[in-house]
Each structure stands twice: as C-alpha cells, then as structure tokens.
Amino acid sequence: MDRLDRLEAQSVYILREAYAAASPLAALWSIGKDSNVVIWLARKAFFGRVPFPVVQLDTGMELDEVYAYRDQYTKEWDLDLVVIDCPPESEMDPDLPPMTRSAARKSAGLAKLLDGDAYKGIIVGIRRDEEATRAKERVFSPRALSGAWEFRDQPPEFWDQYTTDTPEGAHLRIHPLLHWTEVDIWHYSQRENIPINPLYFAQEGKRYRSLGEKNITAPIDSNAATIDEIITELETTRSPERAGRLMDTEAEDSFERLRTSGYM
C-alpha cells in the first residue's frame, strides 16, 4: 500500500464507522476540493453510492463556477442534495470583526440544518494541516446543541475507537480527512480523476488555492494551470493555504472564536 492507499483506507474506515454509528447522517459539501474528496471517498466506502444527504450551506455568495459544479455533479453522482440558505449577516454577532461575521453565516446555516435534532452526525472535510485549531480536532468531535466546540475538554480518542454516542440533543462532527494534507488532496484527486473546479487553475497569473465566498476570499498569484503544477507550487511555497481566506487573520483568535462557536 502506498501513502494514498493508506489515507483512503483510513478515511473509508471512518466513514463506515460514521454510517454505522451516527444516524441520521449527512455530509457538508462546500463544493471545494476537500469536500469533493469526501464525496468521492463515500462512494468508495459504499460501493458507488452516497447513502446519506449532502448539504450545501449556501450564502448566495459563492462564485458562479461553484454553483455550476454543484449542479452538474449532483446529477452525475446521483447525490441527495440539501441546500440550506444561511441567515443574513445582519443576524450575526456584531462584536465579531466584519469578515469573521460574514463567515459566521455558515455556522448559523449549520445550526439551522441541525435544528430540531435533524441529524446525529455531520461529516465535514476539514484537515489538521489547514489551520492550527483544526490540528487539535478529534476525528469524531461531539458538539453541544449550540454547536459549540469544548476545546478545553475534548474526549480521549485512540486506537480508532471513536466517541459515537452523544447526550440527547448533541451531535457529532465527523472528520474523515483530518489526517490528510493539502498536497494529499491534489495527489488523490489526480489519481482518482476527480473533476476539478476550474477556479483552482491559474488564469492570467491568479488562481484560488482555497475556495470561499467571493466577498471574503481572494485568489493567489500563481501560474499553476494543471494538478502537477499545483503540486509543484505547493511543494515549494511557504505561504499558508488559507492566506486568501481573509477572516482567518482579522484578529489573533478570530478563527478560534469562529470554530469554538460552531464553525467547521
């Protein structure tokens, strides 16, 4: 088994545990490169089908190519798509810095999805190497009803034994890509021939390294127009993947605050 085989086998194991233990189950699909891999891995785990709904938390602010990708592959992959309209920015905590407030709409959309105990498990395609508080996540992360992350008191998790039981009203965030890196995602997408949103490829010296809402995400300078070129770029760059995600760096703990209050 090579590196990608091991990553895949571990993720498939996690997805099958989730499907067996957390019902009803749904996966968040931001339609970016990571959650596309999650969908792909689910098809691996369940032999061609995704046996649970995939949910887009829609702010209405995604780039056009994102919506196009969603519509095309919902049909081709026979997905049970659920679109949640995120509450407007005016309803967000006014104490948050402006761009963080905009990002908080997704947490609010997720809360809306979970309202009334609709789901026991939510699959989210975050990775430890993306961001430092995500590096501290568990594979199965129990969340209070509010979605809050009790990062000071996380359960132990070892030997691939996950917390699958939750108190009444709480839910589980399940993170099948936690052990992957950004380059892993590209190598795997290439090996598996997963369709790539053209926004990731450079046009006129710019490409999106990480996709977010158009008002709070910026493309990076790049000439990488193929997966191979992206991989080469990533192997030499010293700037962070989420550098274009402007809400992360508004304050020392702005992303931590987003995450502890329920952001993915």
């Binding site: 499907y19 990062f151 132990p156 962070p240």
Partner: protein
C-alpha cells in the same frame, strides 16, 4: 498584514507521496520543553513559513514576555495566555527524504487523556527530560503509557542542558536512571541525547558546547526511527463494520487488521462460528476486481452462502481463528474522574463490537513511580491496573502480545471513554472448542425408556451433584464418603473424579488452559449422560471457572446441582493432603488454583458446605439430607 496575526501551520508539508511518513510524538513532564523543541526543529531546518517568526515575536511582545517557540504549536489563545499545552496537535515536517508528522502532546497531569490521544497515533516517541529537574512523574507515566499504547520506537532528549552548564556528569546520571526505568517496563531507548531546545544544541546540528557527546542530534535520531511492520504475514483478522445491501449484492465491509485474504478462502465468523467462502472482493473505481487483499485495507467481500453475520463479528481463517471467551485479563489505563469499581458493569468496545462487561476483580494497581504493585478496591484517574473482566456474551479477541490490533479494548460509560486496555488470557482457556458443534447431521432419537420409569425403578430421581472448591477443601473425601452412604441406602450412585477420567476418557488432555476446560466439558457431558441413565452422579473437580461450570449446568439440565465445598486457601494449604500447595509455593507447579491462578467462587450455588470449621461426618450428614430432600421419590 494585520498586526495581530493568528498562527497557521498548514503549509508545513510537502512531497507527500515520496518517501515514508513517520509519526513522532513528543512527550514528557510539563515544562520540560516539548513545544519548544518542535518550534526549534522547524526553525533550524528552515521550515518555518513566511511571517510565522514575526507573528510569534508579535504575540510575545504583546504579552510582555521573551520569545516563546512553543507558540508555534500552542494554537489556542488559552494555551498561549496560560503558557501550557492543553490539547495535542500535529504538524507536518520534512527532512531529507522523509516526511514526519510531529505530534505535540501535553505534559500537564490534567491532560493525560489528550496525551494518550496524541501518542496513540504515533509510530515513534521522543521523551523529553529537563536536565535540571531530572526524571519526574510524567516522565515515567508517559513512558508507561507509550508501552501500553504500543509505541515501540523511543528516544530520549535530555533538555535544558544550558541550565546545567552542559555538564556531562549530570547528563550521565539522568541517562542511567531513566534508561534503567525504561528497561524495567520493556522499552529500549534507541538514543539518549543531551540538548538545549532553546539554544538549538543537538536539535538539528551538533553542539560545540557538548564536545563530550558524539551521538546523533534529535533530527538525525528521527531519521533512524523505523516504521512498524505491517502485520500482513500474521493470522487474518477482519472485524466487520457493517453489512450493506444497497443493490443485489450483500457486501460485508470492514478493515483487515492483520493477515491477508483471497477469493475462495473459507472464513469463520467469530463468535457466531458460521463459515462461508469468499465469493468476491468488491470495490468501486478500481478497475479490475481484486482477488486478494491484506492488512490495513478497508475492503468489502461477498460470500458464496447467505449466512447471517453482523457488525462486530471477526472473520478469520478457520485454522487460525481468534480466541472466544467471556473472561480475560485487562491491563488498563484509567482516564476518568470517577474511579473504576469492582462489580460494576461498563461498556466495552472491541474493534466495532460493543458489549457489556463487569469488572470481576482488581488484581493489582501498578505504581508507575516505583514500578511496584499493590492491592486495591478501586482504580483512580491516571492509574494503571490489571483487572479481570467478564463479558455478558462471548467475544472474539486475541492476546495483545500475539496480535495487538485485535487484542485491545476501550472501556466506556454511555458516551464517555473511561479507559483503554490490552488483553491477556493468562490461565483462562479459549472457549471456542467448547461451543463448536462440528457435526451438522444429527437427529435426536427417542428413548424407549423414559425418565419417569427409570426413577420409579431406582426409587430416586437422577441428578448431577457438581462439587466445586479449592484443592484440599474436601471434595474427593466427601464425594467418596457420600457415594458410600447413598449406595448403602439403595441409591444408584457414581463418582467422577480426576483419577477415573484422566486415565481413560481424558487421557489425551494435558494441563493447558484449553485442555483443562475440555477436561471439565467432557466430565459435564458424561455426568449428564449418566444422570440421563437414572444415576446420581457426583463430580469432584476444582472446576475454578464459572464459564466451565455454567456449561456443565447447561448439559446437566434440571438435575444439575452446584455444591460449593468451601474452605479458604489458608485452611486448604494447612491440610495439603497431596503436598501440592507446597510445590506450588516453591514454583514447581504453575497456574495452581488459589495460589497462582484464580478460583471463581460460585455466585449462586444450590448448596454450600463449609468444611473449614466442621468435621467430615457433619458435612456428610448435610449432604445426605440434601440428597434425600431433593432426589428421593417419596410417592411409591
């Protein structure tokens, strides 16, 4: 750039498909410099991302403190504000051809469960010791936990050598003390390295301040670490996660924990003991269907027969199947605030299998400081102990020494993980042989003579009087005397004991745990047959295990009576009619019940005859009265 930049370390990875991936956890006592070492490694190998150094400087400046490398890993604001690592973190790192995941584990006593979480994912460990403070509690506790978690590659970094003037004598003192401790728990440290993480001595480059040390640096030592071997050549274990029926295929899904399988192999599923052959290996988007799969792969298989199996069963080859048992030893690390209690029932997870288990007894609590044992009635948080657990159903497991991945369990209560533990059977037998019915073409034949007629002629009901108790409690003496008395009173009665079964019926059995269990199983079956023939059968065997006696009860049916011939170990030892206790104490007999192997007292026997304070005659009278009251046919 905002002047208050959050730290991100996402970019710290590269070349992920070339070379191997080694996961190294940094552990040790709080404040011995774990997070500092990680920061320093990144800096000294030129892998800090752009802006990171400046961001850390800025965070330190705002807090009015000197530069703090630990801020690279301590990503939570609470961690930076309090200067302590709360939860484990991971960071990617590359040096020469090898890629590493560095796992930072908290050293504070309060966060042991987070340390366990981090360390359980590691292939190797770097243990940090403060040269000034020396070996401390968590230095020992963490290394013991590494041993239980199965991390075998270990090196030691003696840090803060700058605080002891780079003194070789101080280093050698710690090296000797700690190495001897590690050897005591079965860990061979690959290297012991004197370093100063703050100053960079022996982190990535050799230190000219410690010319007396000519060994490798931390980075060079990490390059020496070897990845654990994948258990592909071990016996096959495929615990089932689920059975899918999405279309016309019925697919059994799971991850192969060890061994390999091929299409056409005959599998046995434990503990249901059903068998079938592999018809196909199923997958999606892989081109040609595979005909073989091996350890670490998540697979789906279909079978040639539609047998009923479910999540939690373990598939293996027939010839090398897991142990089936409902009782075993567990060496566990207790993580919960509420202590473990004897007699309490907890949840147990063995791979994907969930079931209930009762803590039967605590054998010892291990003091990780002194490596001594003591008896206890409870196990408190952060303690390590050996216990005996009894499950409410048969489970398929392995000895951890033999197959670690299927020889470890989690103890939980509702949604809270309380402990992890590794399994050993000790003297408990594999019960697989006792429950497997091999013949499938059996038809019951009606007897021409029914039990009522036999009882009428014998003038008593048939029965199995199952004597159990320690060696020297008086089982054989009482059995023979009772046989004599009953026979004289006209009963059809017979004694089964070691002498008459071991020489013939069971002559092919030795004294392994499995053979002892089989010995008792056969006695139980023969007793049942003789009782069916109308006799009163008295058996005189220690039969120390509840599971064995329960099986004899099942064979004997309504006529079975469990009679506890009771005397404590001290009394039996003072009698010692065959000199066995003396030999057991001298170590000449291994696994001697009451001395070096457990005796499981009956929980609900029909009769208890206490021989410690009564003479033989009065015990005998008790037994005769019991038989008359229970088996005599009064109505003629």
């Amino acid at each position: 750039m905002p002047n208050d930049t959050a730290i991100q370390m996402n970019e710290l990875r590269a070349g992920t498909t070339s070379g191997d991936l080694m996961r190294v956890v940094i552990v040790g006592h709080v404040d011995h410099g774990k997070s500092t070492l990680v920061g320093r490694m990144f800096h000294d190998t030129g892998q800090l991302p752009d802006g990171k150094l400046e961001a850390i400087q800025e965070m330190c400046r705002r807090r009015g403190m000197p530069f703090e490398w630990a801020f690279l890993m301590d990503s939570l604001k609470a961690e930076r504000d309090q200067g302590v690592t709360i939860d484990t973190s991971q960071i990617w790192f590359r040096h020469n051809a090898r890629q590493y995941v560095i796992i930072d584990a908290p050293g504070h006593r309060e966060f042991i469960r987070n340390m366990v979480t981090g360390a359980s994912n590691a292939d190797a460990a770097m243990l940090m010791i403060d040269a000034d403070q020396g070996v401390r509690r968590q230095s020992r506790h963490h290394s013991y936990l590494l041993q239980l978690l199965g991390v075998r590659e270990v090196a030691v970094a003696v840090n803060k050598m700058d605080l002891v003037d780079y003194d070789e004598a101080r280093f050698r003192q710690i090296e000797t003390e700690y190495k001897s401790y590690l050897e005591g728990i079965g860990i061979q440290a690959r290297r012991v390295i004197p370093i100063s993480a703050r100053e960079g001595d022996n982190v990535a480059t050799a230190s000219d301040r410690m010319s007396w040390y000519d060994g490798p640096s931390v980075i060079e030592t990490m390059a020496e670490f070897e990845l654990p071997e994948s258990p592909v050549d071990r016996p096959l274990r495929l615990p089932l996660q689920d059975v899918y029926k999405f279309d016309d295929r019925r697919i059994l899904a799971g991850r192969i924990e060890s061994g390999r399988l091929h299409v056409g192999d005959e599998l046995v599923f434990s503990p249901s003991n059903r068998t079938a052959r592999i018809a196909s290996i199923e997958s999606w988007n892989t081109g040609e269907p595979a005909t073989t799969a091996s350890a670490e792969q998540s697979v789906g298989i279909t079978l040639d027969e539609q047998i009923f199996v479910e999540r939690g069963e373990v598939a293996s080859h027939v010839s090398d199947a897991p142990i089936e048992t409902d009782v075993f030893h567990l060496r566990l690390f207790w993580l919960a605030d509420t202590p473990l209690e004897v007699g309490k029932t907890y949840g147990l997870k063995i791979g994907p299998r969930h079931l209930n288990a009762t803590i039967e007894r605590i054998e010892r609590v291990i003091d990780v400081e002194a490596l001594s044992d003591h008896e206890a009635t409870k196990v408190s948080r952060d303690e390590i102990a050996e216990v005996v657990v009894r499950t409410n159903q048969l489970v398929a497991i392995d000895n951890h020494d033999n197959l670690p991945r299927t020889g470890r369990v989690i103890v939980y209560d509702r949604h809270i993980t309380l402990a992890g533990g590794i399994v050993s059977m000790g003297s408990y037998p594999d019960q697989r042989e006792q429950i497997t019915i091999r013949s499938s073409n059996l038809t019951e034949v009606d007897h021409g003579v029914d039990n009522t007629r036999r009882a009428a002629r014998n003038r008593h009901q048939p029965g199995v009087l199952w004597f159990t108790g320690l060696s020297g409690a008086g089982k054989s003496t009482l059995a023979m005397a009772l046989e004599h008395r009953l026979f004289d009173e006209g009963y059809q009665v017979y004694v089964l004991d070691g002498d008459n079964v071991r020489t013939g019926l069971n002559a092919n059995l030795g004294f392994s745990p499995e053979d002892r269990a089989e010995n008792i199983r056969r006695v139980g079956e023969v007793a049942a047959l003789l009782s069916d023939a109308g006799l009163i059968v008295i058996t005189a065997f220690i039969s120390p295990y509840r599971a064995d006696r329960d099986r004899a009860r099942e064979a004997g049916g309504d006529s079975f009576r469990e009679i506890y011939i009771k005397a404590d170990v001290a009394t039996c030892e003072s009698r010692d009619p065959k000199g066995l206790y003396k030999r057991a104490r001298a170590g000449e007999i291994q696994e001697f019940t009451g001395i070096s192997a457990p005796y499981e007292e009956p929980t609900d026997p029909e009769l208890i005859v206490d021989t410690s304070d009564k003479d033989i005659e009065s015990c005998l009278d008790e037994l005769v009265a019991y038989v008359k009251a229970n088996f005599a046919v009064t109505a003629k």
